[in-house]
């Protein structure tokens, strides 16, 4: 049974990272009905920026490691917020009234541009996270859990709670909800939908940056193409929970993480040795297809197929 708990813990960690990225997709979709293809790349940029700051600071300054880590994370978050803002300004805002195909194409274009900028700046080789966190292992129910994993789960939960409070308890959150229901009506109530959209992109970018750093710190090397699969999976998580629904994205992310971790752990036995863990990436896609066939509005989505 130890193996099962181990997969469960790994799945929870993976799932909280997916959930953080999925929030960016789902918030943007909720307000603009647009899939922000470049979101995965924002995550990658977050990892890269944090890595750069860490490597620069570690050599030169005698600051304690956790301060450097916080600084790197902070820089990445601020950078990615600015990046989200810029992407929306450059690629999506001018095309608000254009047919749907146009912003989709610019979105994919932006994602290619970001990927290649990263390749030119950081090279084609995978970059390892510096070895600054002393790993401590704990044992629960016969399975191992590291301090990094605990930090990831806890901070993801804190961030999600914060976001939930922001959306449901503040003026800004109310404005966001109003805009997502009807931008035209919201603007009649004195809300500037453009500001709200910018803020949404910035929040999404910040969360993505945190997720990117987590992926780098926990799963290993950062690479300029890492955003693509992460983005695809996080999007699947958002659809799983019902795109446009913030709580759904959190739940969908964690569920997808569990499915993937358990799936990859047991696929060998399930297929009688035919498929190995190379096929881990296929699970998210299967989930996406199944959800789209049987329940396109997702687990918690209220909207019907065509809108959702």
């Amino acid at each position: 049974m130890n193996e099962f708990y181990q997969h469960l813990i790994n799945g929870l960690v993976l799932g909280s990272i997916y959930a953080l990225i999925a929030l960016g997709y789902t918030m943007v979709y909720g307000i603009m009905q647009l899939i922000n293809f470049a979101h995965g790349e924002v995550t990658m940029m977050g990892a890269m920026i944090c890595l750069t700051v860490l490597n620069a600071m570690l050599g030169s300054s005698g600051m304690p490691h956790y301060l450097i880590l916080l600084l790197g994370m902070g820089t990445a978050v601020i950078f990615c917020m600015a990046l989200g803002f810029t992407i929306e300004r450059v690629a999506y805002r001018p095309l608000r009234n254009a047919p749907r195909l146009a912003p989709l194409i610019t979105a994919i274009g932006m994602s290619i541009v970001l990927q290649n900028i990263a390749m030119l700046m950081w090279g084609k080789r995978p970059l390892n996270f510096p070895d600054i966190i002393p790993i401590a292992r704990f044992e629960i129910l016969g399975a191992h859990i590291t301090n990094v994993q605990i930090v990831i789960i806890v901070s993801a939960v804190v961030l999600m709670l914060g976001l939930w409070l922001l959306i449901n308890r503040t003026r800004l959150g109310r404005a966001m909800r109003a805009t997502s229901q009807s931008p035209a009506l919201a603007s009649l109530m004195g809300i500037n939908p453009n500001t709200i959209i910018s803020v949404t992109f910035m929040i999404g970018g910040g969360l993505a940056a945190v997720a990117g750093v987590m992926v780098n710190a926990y799963y290993g090397p950062a690479h300029y193409t890492m955003g693509f699969m992460l983005g695809l999976k996080a999007f699947t998580a958002a659809v799983l929970g019902g795109i446009g629904n913030v709580a759904g994205a959190m739940f969908g992310g964690i569920l997808l993480g569990l499915i993937e971790s358990l799936g990859a752990g047991y696929i060998h036995k399930l297929t009688f040795g035919f498929m190995g863990s190379d096929y881990q990436d296929v699970f998210a896609f299967m989930v996406l297809i199944l959800i789209l066939v049987f329940r396109p509005s997702g687990l918690f989505g209220e909207r019907v197929g065509d809108r959702a």
Partner: protein, 380 residues
């Protein structure tokens, strides 16, 4: 041929002036296309004949994707997967890998059929939803096919994994092996020339099919769906089936060109069928002009020849600075991405816009005026 010539020559004086000009122009184009490999070889070298061959393959791909994106308005970001399916089918049925050596006329239709089936399978669950889903599902599909191609070498070796398949049979037609230099009427036809004529024939055939499709009942249904799906459904169009047809047909063309690619290249590996390739084909369509055949062809030609021409920039740097400062190959995808964004912002209908598409891709001024202060149309 001579019969046709004679009758045309006899009728020539009776034809109207503009009709004559049209026929003369077509004959000139035909002559230019027939002589193209010889001229290219003489002027730029054999490697450019090869590039021209690849340009033709990309034209086939772009025309296929144009049906999906240009006519029906569905963004397919995993199009290269169908190309991969066609290529792998050819490779497996005509190579020592399984010891099978089927003739090309048996494989190409099979590849087309298999690609179409894959297309339909992928389209069926997603096409009743909105376009965004299709885009992301196709994106994932392309990646999944790539994963399968790379990993299906164990426990049963089907695709031979990352090494790919080697020693694929060359295409041979009517007993003529296109990989061997042939002599006709005292003229030497090298391998790349022979493939050029094969690809050109198929490209012309597909262009003809596309032109006929454009104004057919189906073609008009595609355009209607692209412009307003609800209105199209109200007119009695079975939107899901018609979209599925577009998807399947695009996949078919992809499968055919994949088979041709495998036969021409002689070896294939999973790395030929990655996301970037799909993006490049989308780029060709967007750059040239979605929905306009000649725009799409222009886009395909531009994007296959420009990167090759950019290589000279590398050589120029080598000569100027003694080393390559900026490797053009590294900038290729960046430029493509920028092209996608800039084209959509500045000239959304492409270099050679299709008339109808142009009208559609520009926001109507009335709406723009009315919507100036609000964010966007709440009815969307």
């Amino acid at each position: 041929m001579t019969m046709l010539h004679n009758s045309l020559l006899q009728r020539w004086p009776q034809l109207k002036q503009d009709r004559r000009a049209v026929i003369a122009a077509w004959l000139l184009i035909a002559l230019a296309l027939a002589l193209l490999p010889f001229v290219t070889d003489a002027a730029l070298g054999r490697s450019w004949v090869r590039i021209v061959d690849f340009a033709l393959l990309y034209i086939l791909l772009a025309l296929g994707l144009n049906i999906v994106v240009g006519y029906a308005g569905l963004l397919d970001l995993g199009y290269i997967a169908f190309y991969g399916v066609g290529a792998y089918l050819y490779a497996l049925l005509a190579s020592p890998h399984f010891g099978l050596h089927l003739p090309v006329w048996a494989i190409l239709p099979l590849g087309a059929l298999l690609a179409a089936i894959f297309g339909m399978l992928l389209g069926a669950p997603t096409l009743k939803l909105r376009g965004d889903y299709l885009a992301i599902v196709t994106l994932g599909f392309g990646e999944i096919i790539h994963i399968f191609l790379r990993n299906l070498d164990k426990p049963v070796n089907i695709t031979n994994g990352p090494q790919g398949v080697n020693l694929i049979d060359p295409i041979s037609i009517a007993g003529i092996n296109l990989h061997q230099t042939q002599q006709f009427l005292g003229i030497t036809f090298y391998k790349d020339y022979l493939y050029y004529y094969l690809f050109l024939t198929i490209a012309l055939l597909i262009i003809f099919i596309c032109i006929r499709l454009q104004d057919s009942r189906i073609g008009r249904a595609w355009v209607a769906i692209r412009e307003d799906e609800v209105a199209a459904a109200a007119m009695g169009i079975n939107t899901r089936n018609i979209k599925l047809l577009a998807f399947g047909m695009g996949a078919t063309f992809g499968g055919i060109s994949g088979g041709l690619f495998a036969g021409y290249q002689g070896y294939i590996s999973p790395e030929s069928f990655i996301l970037n390739e799909s993006i490049i084909v989308v780029c060709m369509i967007v750059l040239g002009g979605m929905g306009n055949l000649f725009g799409v062809i222009l886009g395909a030609i531009l994007l296959t020849t420009l990167p090759e021409a950019l290589r000279y920039l590398g050589e120029l740097q080598q000569w100027l600075f003694g080393r390559i400062v900026l490797d053009p190959a590294d900038y290729r995808m960046l430029l493509y991405g920028l092209a996608l964004v800039l084209m959509m912002l500045l000239r959304p209908a492409g270099i050679l816009p299709s008339v109808r598409r142009k009208r559609e891709l520009q926001p109507t001024p009335v709406v723009a005026e009315h919507e100036k202060d609000t964010v966007y149309d709440s009815t969307r």
